[in-house]
């Protein structure tokens, strides 16, 4: 026999289900009057430093159907690459946003400031990116991915560098569609499948 490890085991995930909106963005579900407003409506407040951008996209299932019931959360640094809560962070950037695929079109829009490059614990610099976490009915454990930007230098990013099949890198890179406007589609399965992260 040996000593017992005293670490605990993480509680298992279960799908967020079709009614995740009730708990997380009740107004979207038609439940009003419990909270003053839904949480995480915007990751920035008036006066946040940096370029204001919008990212539009859809989340496609394995049949190519744009899902109508997904909920997404985003987390990002401010324009200087500093996360909220860290020293020197922009007080107008909360960094966290919740948004849902539109129930008719399946399209989502995220309006935020473009994050700066982020220096990691090991001193390596990560290209500007926004972390995403996607939940929905049929997703048994939330899916993590990142949005990078076509008009940034992504060549030295340590995460992108880990993708062995180079043609898959583009699945993490938002396409520029105009001044401050980007497109980022997510494909859960099959052709053009988005790279999902385990980190």
């Amino acid at each position: 026999m040996v000593q017992r490890l005293d670490t605990l085991v993480e509680t298992p995930s279960q799908t967020a289900g079709p009614y995740v909106h009730i708990g997380c963005i009740p107004t979207f579900a038609g439940v009003e009057g419990i909270y003053p407003e839904d949480l995480g409506l915007s990751p920035i407040q008036e006066g946040a430093k940096g370029e204001v951008i919008t990212i539009t996209g859809s989340i496609y299932d394995g049949t190519g159907w744009a899902m109508r019931d997904a909920m997404v959360e985003s987390w990002q640094a401010d324009a200087a690459g500093i996360y909220p809560g860290q020293e020197g962070a922009d007080p107008k950037v909360t960094g966290w946003c919740r948004f849902a695929a539109d129930k008719d079109s399946g399209e989502f829009t995220l309006r935020t400031v473009k994050p700066g490059a982020v220096t990691n614990r090991d001193g390596k610099v990560m290209a500007p990116h926004i972390s995403l976490w996607i939940v929905a009915r049929g997703i048994n454990i939330g899916l993590s991915t990142r949005i990078y930007f076509e008009d940034e230098d992504n060549s030295a990013d340590p995460i992108l560098a880990r993708i062995e099949q180079r043609p898959r890198v583009h699945t993490l890179i938002a396409k520029k569609e105009g001044a401050g406007a980007y497109r980022f589609d997510i494909r859960l399965q099959g052709e053009g499948e988005t790279v999902f992260l385990d980190l």
Binding site: E10, Q14, V31, I34, V118, S131, I139
Partner: protein
Amino acid sequence: MTDPLMPRRREVHPDPYWPDYKTSLTRSPNLPLLSMESTVSEETGPRFGHNMLGKLDNNLILNYTQGAAPAVGERIRVHGRVLDEAGRPVPHTLVEIWQANAGGRYRHIKDTYFAPLDPNFGGCGRTITDETGYYEFMTIRPGAYPWPNRANDWRPMHIHFSIFGHAFGQRLISQMYFEGDPLIDRCPIVATVRDRSQVDRLVAPLDMQNSRGMDYLAYKFDIVLRGSRQTMFENKPEGM
């Protein structure tokens, strides 16, 4: 400086692709996830203050009517602690819940089950753990409900939980089931968790010690989030 998260043990979680849960077949990646150690982007996360909470936010019996009239159903108290894998309490973290009413009906534009809505029940609540990681809610026991999967599938009574922790990489959504519900072992969503001891951890025991006579029954539900790996050797750039 942030600490690296312990790697997620995927084997203690559901299988993403589970034939008996039909929707999962087209919503699970075919290709392997890209694994690496967490970065500052996963080791930081949003924080929420107790001041954002309304008085009735953790009372689903009363919060939809702002205290004017109680929801119909068996009154229950759900309470427990949020810990991390290292056994440390997770203080001041947001816990959100949502559930069906006593008849198994959700107040949602997409729920068309013919069990009636309760005019006094909204179905969501939230709270923030205290400094010891403790939280509690008052609610009503949700009803089981049928769902379109196989021809006669029913969800056991359950409460959906959303928990944040302090790092975006700890983010977790799960469901709490109730001790003794015979539908648990018949549910294909429960069965996505293949490790039986892990399923047991989703089932809240009846907690008579914390129930109150002539008032409510209590259920205890503890939640464990990913922990971080603290070390004195690594807080410097690689190779130094």
